[in-house]
């Protein structure tokens, strides 16, 4: 189980199954907070997990995320929820060392693949690709936020929701 105290990088890495899950066709929702503890939230455009599964990079469109990116730069606190629309399987990762990192060519590939996979999953529950595209919005640019998960929670609706994620 990942530690819940924010001990950076000290806990075990995310397991392979969850690592694959969060890099698949899931909704990626990123939240931060400012110095007055007012939260902000933005829909992400994909996620990448480092080879050792200790470092997570989430992608956002900066035009829709200026406040959120400002919060990251100011305090590094982050919470990200990953949810598969067709199954409701949901997990949340939290970190306190988030920072804005350089966007790579690999990130652009991740964002394109994410849109395709996520759109496919939405179509499974009756949405149109046009609707999926509209919700996702244009992504003329990307910004990347990297963090080390210090806590992970199961959030699939039901009695187990909110419990720390077993790894």
């Amino acid at each position: 189980m990942l530690g819940m105290t924010g001990d950076k990088g000290q806990g075990p890495p995310l397991d392979a199954d969850n690592a694959a899950f969060i890099q698949g066709g899931v909704s990626v929702i990123v939240a931060t907070r400012n110095s007055e503890c007012v939260p902000d939230v933005v829909r992400g455009c994909g996620c990448r997990v480092s080879r050792d599964r200790r470092r997570i990079t989430v992608l956002v469109e900066p035009g829709r995320a200026d406040t959120l990116l400002g919060d990251i730069a100011a305090n590094g606190m982050i919470a990200v929820v990953f949810s598969q629309p067709s199954t409701h399987r949901t997990i949340q990762l939290k970190g306190s060392d988030a920072r804005i990192v350089k966007v790579t060519a690999a990130d652009r590939t991740v964002a394109a693949r994410h849109l395709r996979d996520w759109s496919e999953d939405l179509c499974r529950i009756g949405c149109t690709p046009e609707f999926a595209n509209a919700v996702r919005g244009d992504v003329p640019r990307l910004a990347a936020i990297a963090f080390t998960p210090s806590a992970a929670f199961q959030q699939t609706p039901g009695p187990g929701a909110g419990k720390p994620l077993a790894t």
Binding site: I29, V41, V42, A134, V135
Partner: protein, 446 residues
């Protein structure tokens, strides 16, 4: 013009899940899906509280939160800065959200998992549209002022309660394309609602009863608030459970089930709106559709306005009828000819049977018996509402009992089940009881 909550109400239908970000006092953010964000008024929304979650813990210690909702047609996203105010665990808002959540859960395959513990009310401090590439809005079915104006003009012109209810149902069909609908009236004791008018069903169901608290209709009656469901849900159905309950409650309850409540077998969307006269519940207007999400906030508004007008007009009509009741003509009728019709009355519950056919029971049953007795004993066919209201044998439960509604019920039930008998209005507060065959009366004592 700044965005208003009103302008983005389709986002609050629960078709696309919303998200909420909160923050603990130690500065740790949290983000979570939320099944139901409900439009309360132009300044407030209510979120479904289903689980004791981190979100809930956070808003109790730090009330500032951010919610993102998605327009179900265009995909447009709106970010709401909100502040938690309070939780309501009962009452109209709670009941309304509970019913809606049952529909959302059914749609999401989460029946039994989603259960409303409370309605968390938040003040909305700002609304911003998230820059995106939303689709063009679909043309919306209008449920606005022009349609309401047409309907209300017809309601205002109704000469009596029966015409008023007919005008309401015909107006819904003509102006709003709502073709499956019914009106149930409540008894003064608040113990049951009985169907007096309907449109769009193979059987009218006039006389069918339900009790407050049952299904969307009973919940709307009990909570005095519109109840709306966008996807079929067993939780708010009124099928098997009611029938089983009836068997355990004995004969009267079984008779209650004798007349089936009309209903679409493939009903997906349902709406029930209370018809109030002041604080007094007159009845419930109900509509349904095989289409999912057929009734939105606009339709709810329109039906609420119409129900409110019906409540006011009904009260005026009743007052007017009482003030102007005319003396009945004293003419006696000729004896009808033909084979006699045997009519039985069971004293236990005032239930009346013509031959082997169950006709009616309760107050309407007592009225019918009184009319039959007057006919057999005195050859009298002309009657006034006042005379019935004062008659001890009818045992109207309360002076505020809507006698006119009982007469409509009886009149329509006779038309459908016993054309040998009939009620014909002859003026304000008076009517003629037509008997077209000889009758033989038999009383079955308790």
């Amino acid at each position: 013009m700044p965005l208003t909550l009103h302008a983005i109400r389709p986002c609050f239908e629960g078709a696309v899940p919303a998200v909420i970000a909160t923050c603990a006092l130690d500065g740790t953010p949290n983000v979570s899906y939320i099944s139901e964000v409900h439009y309360v008024d132009p300044q407030h929304v209510a979120l479904s509280f289903q689980f004791f979650s981190k979100t809930r813990q956070n808003v109790l210690e730090n009330p500032r939160a951010t919610v993102v909702v998605i327009h179900p047609d265009t995909g447009a996203q709106h970010k709401l800065a909100v502040r938690y105010l309070r939780t309501e665990e009962s009452g109209p808002l709670f009941e309304c959200m509970k019913a809606k959540l049952a529909g959302i859960a059914s749609h999401a395959g989460m029946t039994g998992v989603f259960r409303l513990r409370g309605s968390d009310v938040y003040r909305v401090e700002s609304i911003t549209e998230v820059y995106g590439t939303s689709l063009a809005a679909l043309p919306v079915r209008s449920a606005g002022a022009a349609e309401l104006r047409c309907c209300m003009a017809r309601l205002s012109a109704a000469p009596d309660l029966a015409s008023l209810l007919d005008a309401l149902l015909d107006g819904l069909a003509a102006q709003f394309g709502i073709t499956q609908a019914m009106v149930l009236m409540g008894d003064a004791a608040g113990e049951k609602l009985y169907t007096v008018a309907s449109r769009g069903y193979p059987q009218s169901g006039v006389g069918a009863e339900i009790r407050p608290g049952e299904g969307v209709i009973g919940t709307a009656a009990l909570a005095r608030t519109p109840i709306r469901i966008s996807h079929a849900t067993s939780e708010f159905g009124y099928g098997r459970a009611m029938r089983e309950d009836a068997r355990s409650r004995g004969l009267t309850a079984v008779l209650e089930q004798e007349i089936a409540l009309p209903g679409l077998p493939e009903s997906q969307s349902q709406i029930a709106v209370p018809i109030l006269s002041g604080a007094h519940l007159l009845g419930v207007l109900f509509a349904e559709s095989a289409e999912t999400s057929r009734f939105g906030y606009d339709e709810e508004d329109a039906l609420a306005v119409l129900a409110s007008h019906v409540g006011a007009v009904a009260a005026l009509l009743e007052e007017r009828d009482e003030a102007h009741e005319e003396a009945p003509a004293t003419a006696q009728s000729a004896s009808p000819e033909g084979a006699p019709l045997r009519i039985r009355r069971y004293a236990e519950n005032d239930s009346i049977f013509a031959g082997e056919d169950y006709l009616i029971k309760g107050v309407a049953g007592a009225i019918l018996w009184k009319l039959l007795r007057n006919f057999v004993d005195e050859r009298r066919t002309e009657h006034t509402n006042r005379e019935l209201r004062l008659d001890p044998s009818i045992r109207l439960p309360d002076l505020s009992e809507n006698l006119e509604a009982r007469l409509i019920l009886l009149q329509r039930r006779l038309e459908e089940r016993c054309p040998a008998l009939g009620i014909e209005k002859t003026g304000r507060g008076r009517f003629r009881f037509n008997v077209r065959r000889p009758v033989q009366l038999a009383e079955i004592p308790r």
